[in-house]
């Protein structure tokens, strides 16, 4: 009888702890969500202003939806999606999924601020201290098969990668003509920034929904 009561108390304590954890996570995520919405509003406002300036200099008919490219083409900027199942089971399978979004801006990861090493057959810690995918170059370190353990480095200047991105950017602008005002390019940059905020908001949203799911599960159990 005594052990049953103790077990019940322990169980209740665990549930309270789990609920507290979920509430904290939820409140943190909510705060992040609202801040990110503020950033998004700011970058969108900037973009609309620059777009209006470009329209003012080019003329209304030069920047309009009638000029959108309607030929079949795939999106240059996409989203990479990874889905993980939640930590605790939920009554709703969709709530148990926690997707993680990453932006592939112009076909490359937009969040690569610091370079990272790609090493053939070696972990990054075993590789050189220099890291890989930079705006200046892609560094590949390969170990020789011989016992001497020599490392040959092949550097592929990512000028080619930068050129690809530049071409895709220009292609997006070209639907409004070959020569576009600088304001339109700046507007393009503002909307790219907005996309980054959107991805963060999407990830925060999935954290919020996951925390909500956990809270509802704890609530049902108690």
């Amino acid at each position: 009888m005594g052990t049953t009561a103790a077990a019940e108390t322990e169980g209740r304590g665990e549930a309270v702890g789990e609920e507290d954890g979920a509430i904290l996570q939820l409140l943190d995520s909510l705060d992040g969500y609202i801040s990110l919405m503020g950033s998004l509003s700011s970058s969108l406002r900037q973009g609309w202003l620059e777009l209006s300036s470009a329209r003012h200099s080019m003329g209304n008919s030069r920047i309009s939806s009638t000029l959108f490219d309607m030929k079949p083409h795939s999106s240059a900027t996409t989203v990479d999606l990874t889905v993980s199942t939640g930590e605790s089971p939920s009554h709703d399978a969709d709530q148990a999924m926690q997707p993680h979004f990453s932006l592939l801006k112009w076909g490359s990861r937009g969040d690569e601020k610091s370079p990272s090493v790609e090493v053939d057959g070696k972990t990054p810690s075993q590789a050189s201290s220099c890291s890989g995918r930079t705006s200046c170059g892609l560094l590949l370190l390969k170990t020789d098969d011989s016992d001497e353990g020599g490392i040959s480095a092949t550097i592929y200047p990512a000028v080619a990668a930068d050129n690809q991105v530049r071409k895709k950017r220009s292609k997006a602008l070209s639907m409004f003509g070959a020569l576009v005002p600088p304001k339109l390019r700046v507007a393009q940059g503002s909307f790219e920034t907005s996309l980054e905020a959107i991805i963060e908001i999407a990830n925060t949203r999935s954290t919020i929904l996951s925390a909500l799911g956990r809270l509802q599960t704890v609530d049902l159990r108690s």
Binding site: S41, S65, T77, P89, D94, Q95, L104, F191, I198
Partner: protein, 130 residues
Amino acid sequence: MANRVQIPTNNSALIAMIADEDTVTGFLLAGVGNVDLRRNTNYLIVDSKTTVKAIEDAFKEFTTREDIAIVLISQYVANMIRFLVDSYNKAVPAILEIPSKDHPYDPAHDSVLSRVRYLFSSESVSSGRR
């Protein structure tokens, strides 16, 4: 963490948009536009002539397509189909309500924040009963 399983989808998914012309133009400049072989786009431009039915149809289409990961919808457009947006509860595609030029973002109408408010209001009711 034993239950956490990463499922890499290995898919580049699209961002869909239901918004005004300037917002759609801006995001098309950022490379988000996609047109398939049947000339179906991943966006709907909402103007004064766009009907609520067209917005509903676009929302239903974008939320059921498997190649779309995020649906951006201007909040004032979401308000026109609020019932549909609030009853949507899937994790993917993520529905994000964004501000528009003439309608700033209002947290009171956001469907995610509404869900949190509902949970806390029902929790406070149930804790009051205890």
